[in-house]
């Protein structure tokens, strides 16, 4: 299947983009939006999205085949990881879910079509219409494709012309999704544009600034430094919806560690670690295991290691850059050395102060002859960011209080906390986590599988894009 040249990103790196080209493209996008997109009913758009998503779930769907054939080379994800991640995403894009999202964020499913009232508004004699930005610019990150795809979905619901800026090595899947939407309804493709460059390329800043001038609203996903640079360069009065990088962890309560429950939990934790090779903001860096007796965390770590070894045969991680592999190799060595030292101290009854400065215990389980997966049982309970790509920490704690205390340094960066706890503890734990700052609490195994209605980093993703017009009567 050869993709036609529908979008600027289809033309590859050979295309030399200029700010003028982008401005012209934005002009055309806005005109096409007026001509068609703005005239569509929500129901039509939702059906187009849901129909396209349904096709993506079909093994024989052309765009999916291209994604799975060319995706591993471009994204670094193995075929199984990629198809699992895409399936999880497209399963969420149903008519029911998209309509529910509109109701949740905007109060009524017709909010984007007509002036409507909720019961409260009606009592006040008021009707309201939610209006999307004329032109929406998305600066997407390249670690995994789903957030870029979902940004496009939201922009369609708000009837916005859209420019999706992808990193050079992260444009394939967004392009395929855009092509698939255009294949369902060609007019839809004409108010959508995709471009690709890397932040560090010469000329990138002037291209971005041309887009900022044109945009009514900008969404940006990336690191603090990148977001800060975007924030500085956006003209006054334009809206920025910024998604900074987040990190996530899990908590396994002492009540959840019966032999039977443990088996299930270990499989679920392996789902979390292998999903998108742990590269998303919702992927776990650490599992905190609440210990009733010493050794529970070690048991969890050992079983998780076995499960990750099995996954490597069914869903291999895929190749890494030398730098990424080196980061894993270096960390493994550091912990293996600590493990060897700690066991030498205990076996030979050597005093820790004799030649070791620190004697926190550690144990490492790791794939042999590759960096495919690593589990580190770390006696030091302080939160530690993983080097990812299926490298996970397991840390024993005596209680939930310790988790919050040891994760305090990353408190304001935490997105998701996966919790395994009995119902009678769940309410109290959740309220504490919410007030502490976590924006999402989910079962172990579902970290990288947020529902379409998910409030991204604690904010209404659709609601944040629209402006309201109130009609008082």
């Amino acid at each position: 299947m050869n993709l036609p040249n529908l979008f600027l990103a289809d033309l590859g790196p050979a295309l030399e983009l200029s700010p003028t080209t982008l401005r012209d493209a934005c002009f055309a996008l806005r005109r096409n939006r007026e001509d068609w997109l703005l005239r569509q009913r929500t129901r039509t758009l939702v059906e187009i999205l849901a129909y396209t998503a349904e096709q993506w779930l079909e093994p024989g769907f052309g765009f999916r085949e291209v994604a799975l054939r060319e995706g591993p080379g471009e994204t670094g994800f193995g075929v199984a990881t990629l198809s699992r991640g895409l399936d999880a995403f497209f399963r969420q894009l149903t008519v029911e879910n998209l309509e529910a999202l509109i109701v949740q964020d905007l109060g009524d499913v017709r909010r984007l079509d007509d002036f409507t009232s909720t019961a409260v508004e009606m009592r006040g004699g008021r009707r309201s219409l939610a209006v999307g930005p004329e032109l929406l610019v998305h600066l997407t990150a390249g670690n995994l494709p789903n957030p870029a795809l979902f940004s496009m979905v939201l922009g369609l619901l708000t009837r916005s012309a859209q420019v999706v800026k992808c990193p050079r090595r992260g444009a394939l899947i967004p392009r395929l999704f855009a092509h698939s939407l255009a294949a369902t309804e060609s007019k839809l493709g004409s108010s959508l544009e995709l471009v690709a460059w890397s932040h560090a390329e010469p000329g990138a800043a002037s291209l971005e600034e041309a887009l900022f001038e044109e945009a009514g609203c900008i969404t940006a996903t990336g690191g603090d430094e990148m977001l800060e640079s975007v924030r500085r360069r956006i003209p006054q009065g334009k809206r920025l919806v910024a998604y900074g990088h987040r990190l996530s962890f899990g908590f396994i309560s002492r009540e959840s560690q019966s032999t039977y429950a443990m088996k299930r939990l270990v499989r679920a934790a392996a789902d979390d670690v292998t999903a998108w090779n742990q590269l998303g903001c919702l992927s776990p860096h650490v599992y905190y295991v609440e210990e009733e007796a010493e050794g529970m965390a070690a048991r969890f770590a050992g079983e998780l290691a076995e499960e990750l070894a099995r996954r490597e045969s069914t869903e291999p991680r895929g190749d890494l850059s030398t730098g990424e592999a080196a980061a894993i190799a270096s960390r493994r060595t550091a912990y293996a050395l600590r493990a060897a030292a700690a066991s030498a101290v205990s076996e030979r009854n050597l005093s820790g102060s004799l030649f070791f400065e620190t004697s926190t215990s550690a144990q490492v389980w790791a794939s042999e002859g590759s960096t495919a997966w690593t589990v580190v049982l770390d006696g030091d309970p302080r939160f530690k960011a993983s080097c990812l790509n299926r490298f996970v920490y397991v840390k024993p704690v005596r209680g939930f209080d310790e988790v919050l205390r040891f994760a305090e340094p990353v408190r304001h960066q935490v997105s998701t906390v996966a919790v395994a706890a009995p119902d009678d503890r769940m309410d109290a734990l959740s309220v504490r986590l919410a007030r502490w700052g976590a924006s999402r609490i989910c079962p172990v195994g579902r970290m990288q599988d947020p529902p379409a209605l998910w409030r991204h980093d604690g904010r209404p993703a659709l609601g944040d894009l629209v402006a309201w017009t109130d009609l008082e009567t």
């Binding site: 990088h245 590269l279 980061a327 550091a334 060897a340 070791f356 590759s370 960011a385 990812l388």
Partner: protein, 365 residues
Amino acid sequence: MRLQNRLHDSFSNLLSDVRLFIERSSGSAVPPSGKEWEALALRLFGFQCRNVPVYGVWCRSLGISEASVTDWKSIPALPTHAFKDFDVSSLDPADRVAVFHSSGTTATRPSRHHHSVATLALYEASLEAGFLRGLAPLPTGGFRFVSLTPEPGSAPHSSLVHMIAHLGRRLSSGEAVFLGRPGADGWDLPLEPALETLVRLAREGRPILLLGTAFQMVHLMDRLAGSGSFLRLPPGSRVMETGGYKGRSRSVPRDELHALIRGRLCLAGDGVVTEYGMSELSSQAYGGESGLELPPWARLLLVDPESGKEVGEGTPGLVRVVDLSNVGSVMAVETGDLAERRGGLFRLLGRAETAEPRGCSLMTP
């Protein structure tokens, strides 16, 4: 008592054998052979395996014994990280006269590399011989040493400052000058006084060797560029830059930095030399933009992080250095840097531990 004596004896034998190796490598008619290097490396490995406790533990945990290692490439490397957590030394605490720390922020625990009088002397012999190779040919009459680092009294734990001070004492034409001072988080370089001194020394007309870290060089060059000025160093002058940036100045690719320095200081094509060294090692690599080279008493091994096997020419790998002059600590060290070989030289490609997974900016060490 007898055992103590034997160990002591063996240690001093090793020290003098390594020293002899370094001397014979430098300017001798018959430089030592590769076989001699390997034999000495294996002897040193055996000694360190027995006498550096944490290294012994590490080797045993890898299932490696003294007898099982028959070629130098199988000698287990200790990560530089170990110098932070463990006492990597065979020296009796009473014999330790100096300790070098890795640079870094005050928040992290530094590496510590201990020296006795004898190992410090070997460090000095090694660094001096290495410097003379790396900077050859030196101008007749020598360089005036001007360092952007603090003077040794206010940076007693910097192996770099110790090195510069030693070289200054031995080789500088006129007293070595130190322009930096210790700051809240590392070293500061008061730019205006530094420039005044440089201008004054440049007027004297003797070739200058300007030494400093890459980030100090960037600060100095930015200052010159900011006012559109140039500082014409006397003919034959050179610059030796070393080390990374650690977030203290804008990070500039090495080629660009060299071009910047050459331009602002009016230096010839080979005027800027890179030095690659660290507190955990006693030898340094030198080179230019085409790559770096270690002296003959230290060897480089690049390994694939996936398999741990040696990589071929042009393939990036993790840097291991086997440095014979690290007698009192551990000779085989994995540095956490990435590099590739190109025609006998190697080029540094970055740090392994700061390699970020795609799209992620939350890596904290």
